[in-house]
Amino acid sequence: MANERQATTSLYQETLIAGLWRENPVFRLLLGMCPTLAVTAAVKPALTMGLSVIFVLLCSNIVVSLMRNLLKPHLRILMFTLTIATFVTIADLFLKAFVPRMSETLGPYVPLIIVNCIIICRAEACASKNTLIISIIDALGMGAGFTLTLCVLAGVREILSTGAIWEIPVLPTDFVPWAAMRMPVGAFITLGLLLGLVNVTSKRMA
């Protein structure tokens, strides 16, 4: 009995931690590239995006997990997409009402969460097969991993493009900002180099 409980607890822990490093959605699974590249010019929008994704991921995983026994195989992707679209609409209206300026900065990238592969992937790979609790933990782990990655990328780009982080200056005033970092070029190249770094680190650790 005690053993069984211990086994479930460690399963929960493993699911939670998997999203952060071993199965990190951006670095390892290369999912959700569009928002990763588009909203990471600064930390604030990146964090807002990450939190919206956590909300949508959590809600859609809960709903999908609850209806997993009712799904017909050929209609399941459509059902996932409709569920996600509903929650994204809620998130979008919420952002528009409470942080209108941030919603303007993010623009169409909030509704684009609908086609974010992370959420469909988790619905398909985890929520449609597992119990409610596992799905919730998985959503939290994956969402946290995604948000963390977004913030790291945004932090690097914001420091190099403005010399500030979270709009607070950190570098000496004679630092010349790299304008390219704010542009698409900076996004692609920073992510490419970060992926290389992750590859090196994981090889060292293995």
Binding site: I77, A85, L93, L112, P184
Partner: protein, 196 residues
Amino acid sequence: MDTLNILLMGFISIVLINNLVFTKFLGICPYLGVSGRIDMAFGMGMAVTFVVTLSGTLTWLIDHLILLGTPLEVTRYVCFILVIAGAVQLVEMYLRKFFPALYESFGIFLPLITTNCAILGLCLFINLWGIDNLIEAVVLSFGAGIGFTMAICIMAGIRENLNLADVPDCLKGAPITLITAGLLTLAFMGFAGMIR
């Protein structure tokens, strides 16, 4: 004459200057995933062009004839994604019937066009830019598809040659593709400001 001018400018701007892949980061997943071989890339580009033209037009019609100005506006995203999923289903059925060889070679990537952000993104941008003319919406959607095809074909061409290059171990695969894409966007930035 004036209309023609506007349409032409709109087309060139969406293909070169506001290219969805290079400036808006849309459609990155297939751009990185299917750009290994140039024939696959071209087929993918054509399928996306067809779906994006169809769904851009349909979503404009739905938006302007049914949703606009009614409380139903909140269901916009749900409607858009339904239209796109339907259009993709149509392409899938058509290809399976008339081009079975092409259908086989696409495999999983065909249904995945539904989750290609370039398509939903374009429908949202047409809505955001306030395009109030059906012909303009059609031209923009078609141009977006052509722009995507161009981007993915250039990338596939580069990657076919990249196979022969000596890339550091840790950068093999996705990282070097991303860096290449970054350099490509740098090239396309040269077009910025050509048309206001």
